[in-house]
């Protein structure tokens, strides 16, 4: 009986704590590869690796170069730079809330975070470090040798390296923004502009068609009418050309510039882009007819999805 009452209570709370298609996140929904959260040792190991430039061919870049904690775990520029100084073809996505995602990269070509990590390290355009050299460098470090043995039965392996990096990234969680506090009952947590913006988000502006759920993403691929030549998901599936994966909007105010090509500098630019129905016609995007006040309200709501995560850079061993 007690268990039933608790279940009913939680059901009610879940019902109350959603604003239609958007709502709160639950850590219970995270599907860890092992079925349970990683250990502190694994997360700490992954954190150090994330900041280690030995994971790039010429030892100039770490994961944190393109996913900089001071730039919203993004890059702050329209397109990233590879370790050889080459301009990449797409904007560096941030790494918040990857714990809830099921596909990775703008075109979703990786179905696991662990696979994405190894691809990014190996790719000549990005970190340009072949797997054999990666293993040689990491194994040569007494610190890593010891920490890997402490964390994993089989010590230093490429799989374990990717697991550690993924374990760390899955801890970068944004789930306590002013929006979340508002949804939990603090009606003062969001400004009146942001509340109006929230209603527009799920109503007239149609944002929640794609940016839905607790993580503000349907995890799907959409053609937004950007008008550039990048075929996106089309490289993985020829039926899905010019579609790109919907990113989460949590902490979006920290991760300018926007879109897969970084071509929209501000959130205002993004909202005006959608209001205009995109740059080229597409089935997924229609003109919205928003007023200036409504544009501002939406920007205000997007700002209410912000939670600064305090972070201290680790010391990387020699």
């Amino acid at each position: 009986m007690k268990r039933k009452l608790i279940s009913v209570f939680f059901l009610l709370i879940t019902g109350i704590l959603s604003a239609g298609p958007i709502g709160l996140l639950s850590k219970d929904d995270i599907e860890y590869p092992t079925g349970k959260p990683p250990s502190r040792d694994e997360v700490e190991l992954g954190k150090i690796l994330f900041f280690d430039t030995r994971l790039s061919g010429n030892k100039t870049q770490s994961c944190a170069t393109c996913h900089d904690p001071n730039l919203g775990w993004g890059y702050g520029m329209a397109k990233g730079l590879g370790s050889e100084g080459n301009t990449l073809t797409r904007n560096s996505p941030h790494v918040f809330n990857l714990a809830w995602m099921t596909s990775f990269f703008w075109d979703g070509r990786s179905d696991s975070l662990e696979k994405q990590i190894l691809l990014a390290i190996k790719n000549p355009a990005t970190m340009n470090l072949p797997p054999d050299e990666m293993m040689k460098r990491v194994s040569a470090s007494p610190y890593y040798e010891k920490q890997f043995k402490k964390t994993y039965k089989d010590g230093v392996t490429a799989d374990n390296l990717s697991k550690a990096l993924a374990a760390f990234q899955r801890t970068l969680i944004v789930d306590n923004t002013p929006f979340d506090q508002y949804m939990k009952g603090n009606k003062n947590a969001m400004s009146p502009d942001a509340v109006r913006g929230m209603n527009l988000f799920t109503g007239k502006a149609n944002c929640a068609n794609c940016h839905d759920g607790g993580n503000f993403t349907d995890g799907s691929y959409h053609n937004l009418g950007m008008g550039d030549k990048d075929i996106g998901r089309g490289k993985v599936d020829t039926n899905m050309s010019y579609r790109f994966r919907t990113p989460t909007l949590r902490n979006v105010s920290l991760t300018a510039p926007y879109m897969h090509d970084g071509s929209l500098a501000t959130l205002e630019d993004v909202v005006r882009f959608y209001n205009a129905g995109g740059r080229v016609p597409t089935r997924d995007i229609k003109k919205l007819g928003l007023t200036e006040q409504e544009i501002q309200d939406l920007v205000s709501f997007l700002g209410a999805l912000t939670q600064w995560i305090p972070f201290e850079r680790p010391v990387v061993p020699d």
Partner: protein, 210 residues
């Protein structure tokens, strides 16, 4: 003569009933450490009489309408799209050795496909356009099976399979993401089994046949 006739009649009835006169109920109780899986499938493998002419996979609001469906060798699968957006259902399950792609499905469409893979396989189904969507299709042979919805509010872990013939003793238990369980449990027996994920304990199931 009468006694012989009686024995003959009784034997015939027993044979015809296929052992149904000697059937019982298997009861199970799940307990999990932490969050349980959404669903479990339990079935006795010896029976091959299951017949399900049609089983439907449908989508609404970017979700599958059912998390697990069961079919048999005579089942025609129907992939319906009741949503207001396109979907593209596919299966790429290397563990079960099943791969197929239903293709791009517009709202309102229905595509049929036979269940032409091996028996006693559960395959994972997803959508190429919406990778967060997931459900499972089980192809089994036994009518002595139960789908247990573990995420129902107030669920107390209890389930049962009724009218199990005495000769059916090989029980299989499947839960998504957890190690499959196979055990033998005959009439009047009890068993407590561990539920594991990659050999790490996640819970237990108590089985009783009465």
């Amino acid at each position: 003569m009468n006694r012989r006739l009686t024995w003959l009649t009784l034997s015939a009835v027993l044979l015809a009933s296929n052992g149904a006169l000697f059937s019982d109920t298997l009861k199970g109780v799940f307990t999990f450490d932490g969050k349980p899986p959404r669903v479990a499938l339990a079935y006795f493998g010896e029976d091959t009489s299951l017949s399900i002419p049609t089983a439907t996979v449908d989508q609404v609001s970017k979700e599958f309408t059912t998390y697990l469906i069961v079919g048999a060798k005579d089942t025609k699968l129907q992939f319906k799209n009741s949503d207001n957006i396109d979907h593209n259902i596919y299966v790429n399950d290397n563990d079960a050795d099943v791969n197929f792609d239903v293709g791009l499905a517009e709202p309102g469409s229905v595509v049929s496909k036979p269940m032409d893979w091996k028996d006693n396989r559960v395959v994972r189904v997803s959508c190429k356009i919406h990778p967060n969507m997931r459900m499972y299709i089980a192809k089994i042979t036994s009518k002595y099976h139960v789908i247990v919805n573990l995420d129902k509010p107030g669920f107390d872990g209890k389930w049962e399979i009724k009218d199990v013939p005495a000769q059916c003793t090989k029980l299989s238990l499947w839960m998504p993401g957890l190690d499959p369980i196979e055990t033998a449990i005959g009439p009047g027996k009890k068993a407590t089994l561990k539920i594991t994920k990659k050999s790490e304990e996640r819970g237990s199931v108590v089985l009783t046949r009465g």
